[in-house]
Symmetry: C2
């Protein structure tokens, strides 16, 4: 066993834990997903799990960060416009644990002083910037008019996407990406101009 081998094993175990945590969350919800249960499913005891993640909050935030990194790499490219956003949504519908963790944890974390609140604030700003960029790239390509209030549209698309996730958790037959695509087309089809500003 070389030192590199050990590191590689540690990294693999970490990745395994992140994946298994999503399965557990999908089945029992964030609240009932105990560290013990997650540990058991990767063949560890609960203290064994804590070797990889100092706190429970760290574990959940790491799961979400891993998602962000993958989404950014896999779905967003500078010039594809709004389609990247829709691709992420479509992909989410294949990972119920991720949707559940995001919806539950983002709600819980809004409370003052929650250890994950900063993560969600930063993530929101990040997604917002990505969507704004997407819309502006559509404007540059003249596939969308310049009359729209871009930040407003970005916040609205994000709100609709988040709200649809709760509806989808109650009824997974609804097509989140199709509905958001329709909203997007609706905005694009109009000469919709801001009310203020």
């Amino acid at each position: 066993m070389t030192r590199r081998g050990q590191y590689a094993k540690g990294a693999a175990k970490r990745a395994e834990i992140l994946a298994v945590a999503l399965d557990v969350v999908a089945e029992m919800g964030t609240r009932k997903s105990s560290n013990r249960e997650i540990a058991a499913r990767v063949g560890l005891t609960q203290p064994g799990l804590m070797h990889y993640f100092r706190t429970r909050e760290d574990l959940f935030v790491e799961v979400l960060r891993a998602r962000d990194a993958r989404d950014h790499e896999q779905f967003y490219s500078p010039d594809q416009g709004f389609q990247g956003f829709l691709d992420v949504i479509a992909h989410n519908a294949t990972v119920p644990g991720l949707v559940r963790l995001y919806v539950e944890y983002s709600a819980e974390a809004t409370i003052e002083g929650h250890p994950a609140r900063a993560y969600f604030e930063e993530r929101f700003a990040w997604v917002r910037a990505l969507v704004i960029e997407s819309v502006e790239s559509e404007q540059a390509a003249e596939t969308m008019g310049t009359g729209v209030d871009v930040p407003y549209v970005a916040d609205l698309m994000i709100a609709a996407a988040d709200g649809l996730q709760v509806q989808w958790l109650l009824d997974p037959s609804i097509d989140m990406a199709a509905r958001l695509s329709r909203l997007w087309e609706g905005i694009r089809a109009t000469s919709w101009t801001p009310i203020e500003a």
Copy 2:
């Protein structure tokens, strides 16, 4: 003390508990709002509280049901169209505990077998029906075109409203009602027709 007097006192205490529960949730979030803390704030012990609500879930669902009843009576009238929905949203922004409880608890309750899942399913169907009715009443008054896919628009408005609540919890300076009003006007202003159907 007549029998009626005792009932009246019990009902008043129940109402007090519902109100105080919202304060506690606003401060500490649903997860950390223990029965003990709520009980203490109404001058009861935790078993004293359980006299009024058999389980914690009962208490939270009762809080939400009381809100539904009041909203329905206060804000919805058969012929006012979509404005009732916007009035409810504007009122929500004055009751942070309610927004927090709804967002957190509706997420948690989507899990299979959760005691509050049925409530949220029924509530969603109910709100959906109300919004559909509102839109149709606008169509009847010819303040909205007949080309729109009404159920789709209803689900979208609800999703946007729910998603905005999370954004509002992170930043209470955003005006939820104004944003939804703007979406509504956007839909109204277009000859937006369904993509499918």
